[in-house]
Symmetry: none
Subunit: 193 residues, 4 copies
Amino acid sequence: MDTIKRTKILKAAIKVFAKEGFFNAKVEQIAKLAGVATGTTYLYFENKDDILISIFEEEMIPIIESMRIALSKKETAREKITEIIFNHLEMIQEKPDMAQLLEIELRQSSKFIHGYQGTKFKEYLDIMAAAFAEGQENGEFREDIQPTIFKQILFGAIDQLSINWTLSKSKKIDLKLCADQIAAVMLDGITNK
Amino acid sequence: MDTIKRTKILKAAIKVFAKEGFFNAKVEQIAKLAGVATGTTYLYFENKDDILISIFEEEMIPIIESMRIALSKKETAREKITEIIFNHLEMIQEKPDMAQLLEIELRQSSKFIHGYQGTKFKEYLDIMAAAFAEGQENGEFREDIQPTIFKQILFGAIDQLSINWTLSKSKKIDLKLCADQIAAVMLDGITNK
Amino acid sequence: MDTIKRTKILKAAIKVFAKEGFFNAKVEQIAKLAGVATGTTYLYFENKDDILISIFEEEMIPIIESMRIALSKKETAREKITEIIFNHLEMIQEKPDMAQLLEIELRQSSKFIHGYQGTKFKEYLDIMAAAFAEGQENGEFREDIQPTIFKQILFGAIDQLSINWTLSKSKKIDLKLCADQIAAVMLDGITNK
Amino acid sequence: MDTIKRTKILKAAIKVFAKEGFFNAKVEQIAKLAGVATGTTYLYFENKDDILISIFEEEMIPIIESMRIALSKKETAREKITEIIFNHLEMIQEKPDMAQLLEIELRQSSKFIHGYQGTKFKEYLDIMAAAFAEGQENGEFREDIQPTIFKQILFGAIDQLSINWTLSKSKKIDLKLCADQIAAVMLDGITNK
DNA sequence: CATGAATGAGCCTTCATTCAT
DNA sequence: GATGAATGAAGGCTCATTCAT
């Protein structure tokens, strides 16, 4: 199993899916960008669906990992929430194609790609829930908000601004400012008073 | 122009797009559900894209209108924000198919459907911005958050929980509880202290 | 359901399958010969397999019917067996493409086309068994040969000569002579003495 | 030239062709069953067609040879014809895969495999013709049947029952009985009276 | 206006064959 | 010689769109 070639195909697929969308993307297009023949794609992936799912499952790993490492360096839950917000928005800027997929295609997938459950995405959300729950336990955050709901609120807010930024053609809003403002609202909204 | 037939097609399209997704939906399927011939669809809409866009542009009208009316009955900006949250989540329950589209398909559309700008969606977001700005003007809300950013935060949070609820097959979370918790976090996070 | 168009496709398919073989035949080729678009084929048949099966099931009907009518005009079982032999070989000459299919493709089909049982082919064979059994009952034919086995012997003999004739490019053997000789051997071999 | 490896590939191909049919069989499948790499196949055979042709040409040799030996031990032409029938049907039972190919795939080959003439098959048929001609010469068999036609009749009858037996999934007919009945009909049909 | 049969371009996928190692 | 990963041409099938009735 040639891991390098597999990765080249995945990287190419991220670009193409991001640019064209999953349904509009052509396998031949992905192969060409990856510098391999069309058929080679099928040596590494079962079909087009599998490519998309593999992206989610495999490309999320380092993202989740780096998020975990970054969070482990933070003391307070407050700092962790802040880190999550900034970390995510930084990723948006650095890996815009990957961001595209997470934001736009991932939503469809769990619905339209047969059997895909989006486990890595859930893992990502649970990091948010965990940071929040930690803050509840040590008294930083209010007790009346459920972590399961909060993680959705937080992710939704971050994600919406990410999508908006990603889709903006010109005069993009400053992501640093967005991060600040999300953090301001969220932290103020959940801090125990 | 037979408005009734046109509406029947639109209603059918909402159902089919919601169930199958835009790309998987077949025009014949929409026509059949609408009780018309396939070709008839093309008498009322330019193409498949146009059906989706028309849904957004036309079905959003009553949604936006009812939201505006509901808000006009509220005194404070705080109440208006609360109303927006509850109103949206109620719509999710009452019109789950329409909700599906707004949530999932709309994201793709502005990117993949040639030339679509999503004007009605922007209008919807701007209601949120306006309510927030109003609160800033009358001193209810903090000044350091930009309405343009806040509307995204608020919509993102609501929307994420909506999507989650919509896509859940069983044991769905209580939307009323979600609304409460979103309102709690958001209002606490933006209230001027 | 346009029966004429359906028939045109079937007739074209018979030609193409006969010339190229089932696996080598292209649906586009069949469509082109039928004077329709490729997609039209799929309005009348589920897939390529279905076209082949439909040929067997539907084209065999008149062949079987005309055989039955011809046999009903014959008095003795001996005459009926003779008629079967001549009738079959005449069909080979008149409908060589159809013959091709019955001979060559049909054999594969029951093995490789999922679920196809070749019912019409069995019906054809059973006409032979019936004629033979009739001869046994009225004392024309020997009793020690099983009709189920004899029908295979007779069909095999006729069919082998048919295939041979069909596949011969040049200096084809005289089918009339073949029929005479098959009849001579078979009748002599089964006559009650 | 590694004859052992070549033979392993041929044996594997017989199995795979018999099970899947020539067109459905995959070269990789044959190679895997033979315990060699896909590419190795092309060191011993020009292409997929060549494998099939080689089977016919080379696997027929011992079959033909053993048939010749068996016939040489028989005195009368009558015994020889009987031997042919029993010998063939015994082979069907002992080498069902090989039988499959001879029966089903061979028919297509001469038509669809470019340039193949089926020389070994003709040789096999000519053994039948020779045995019959011998009987004509020594007065055992009638003179009015052409050996060239009789060989087709005899082979067709045997072959049809073989195919039928091979393709039957369950409750297979007794091949010994078949052999008896073919012999009974044929010999009675050709004996000089 | 309405119909729905017909169209045919387009795409995913397969697999015989090649070739660098 | 042997390998098996890579190739890329080819084809079955789909479906948005058209148009004769």
